[in-house]
Amino acid sequence: MGDYIVLIISCIFVNNILLAQFLGNCPFFGTSKKMETAIGMGMAVVFVLVLGGAMTWLTYEYLLVPLKLVYLRTIVFILVIAGLVQFVEMFLKKNMPALYAGLGIFLPLITTNCAVLGACVINIDKEYNFMQALVASFAFAAGFGLALVLFAGIRERILLARVPKPLQDTSIALITAGILSLSFFAFKGMA
């Protein structure tokens, strides 16, 4: 049990997927201008990453390893994720229209979110067992959501501030992300 707590804390704070591992930065800057879109994106990532983490782990362990096709990992993983996203989209549209309306536009974007593929590859590289992979996927996704929502809150405030011209837009966003990353850096000694 204690191991899992350490794993969760390390995946959310110490090795935060956005601010320490630099995965998924395109949606981080793209969807953080408004709080609502940030929350939608964060939830969609949690949803897909947990399912995707489980699916890719099972595919790797029970399909690629027995068939000695480990070198096809990248292609197979991206196909599994793309198929999964498509399936989830159709399922939600039919059975949970309310959730679909909330996540709708963000779901297709997730296929090319490198946080999802990255977390799946990290699960395999670190040789996690199934339970650990599942917990780590959830914790990575939670860390993604947390950082994204915090960042969106800060960016909404920046809109009201007077920023020097050359620094406007992406430039100030990057520097803000640096300061946010610095605060996550403080967790470094914990796990």
Partner: protein
């Protein structure tokens, strides 16, 4: 014709240099640029994938049905990424270990997919090659630029494949390495400040 070919090639170096002008592909930009040579290695790997996938996609552009085009692009890109992965494991294993998870992640690098969608599926093979080469080299250049700033400030030296080519502490005695720049928060800040500098220079 020749003029526009040159235009497609050179626009990658300043006009549309990724990731400064097109804010795409930031993840490897921040993740691997602690040293200049990692930046160059990553840039070359991305360029290879970009050029090959641009060529293949523009050759097949009339055959791919537009409804499933994104899925087709991803498979083509993933194939070339696997080629790069296997080649790097065979010839440059050390660099492959250092770049780690970022090599398989070239698949989801927005630049590659973005060029396929925005350029290769609409233009001829030669033009797409020029476009892929230009954008790829521009990307390599900016990765190398950020890598050199971070390595120079963070370690005080600039090393390319084992040969130190510049040593700050010999120029400025008493120089203390500014370790912040090679750590995670420094990556964001250096990129932000470089973007700011480019905005100042390129002001219209």
């Amino acid at each position: 014709m020749a003029k526009s070919l040159a235009h497609e090639f050179f626009k990658g170096f300043w006009q549309e240099i990724p990731p400064f002008r097109l804010v795409l592909g930031i993840c490897p930009m921040l993740g691997v640029t602690t040293k200049i040579q990692f930046g160059i290695g990553m840039g070359i790997a991305t360029t290879f994938v970009l050029v090959c996938s641009n060529i293949l996609i523009s050759m097949l552009r009339n055959l791919i049905p537009s409804k499933v085009r994104i899925a087709c692009f991803i498979i083509i890109v993933a194939t070339f990424v696997t080629v790069v992965e296997l080649m790097m494991q065979a010839f440059t294993y050390g660099l492959f270990k250092q770049l780690g998870v970022f090599i398989p992640l070239i698949v989801v690098n927005c630049i590659v997919l973005g060029r396929a969608e925005a350029f290769a599926c609409k233009n001829s093979v030669i033009m797409s090659t020029a476009d892929g080469l230009g954008i790829g080299l521009g990307y390599t250049l900016s990765l190398a630029a950020i890598g050199s700033v971070r390595e120079l400030l963070g370690a005080g030296t600039l090393t390319v494949w084992g040969d130190p080519i510049l040593n700050l502490s010999s120029i400025f005695p008493g120089f203390e390495p500014f370790v912040f720049t090679v750590q995670a928060p420094g990556a964001f800040m250096i990129l932000g400040l470089m973007l700011c500098a480019m905005n100042m220079v390129g002001k219209k």
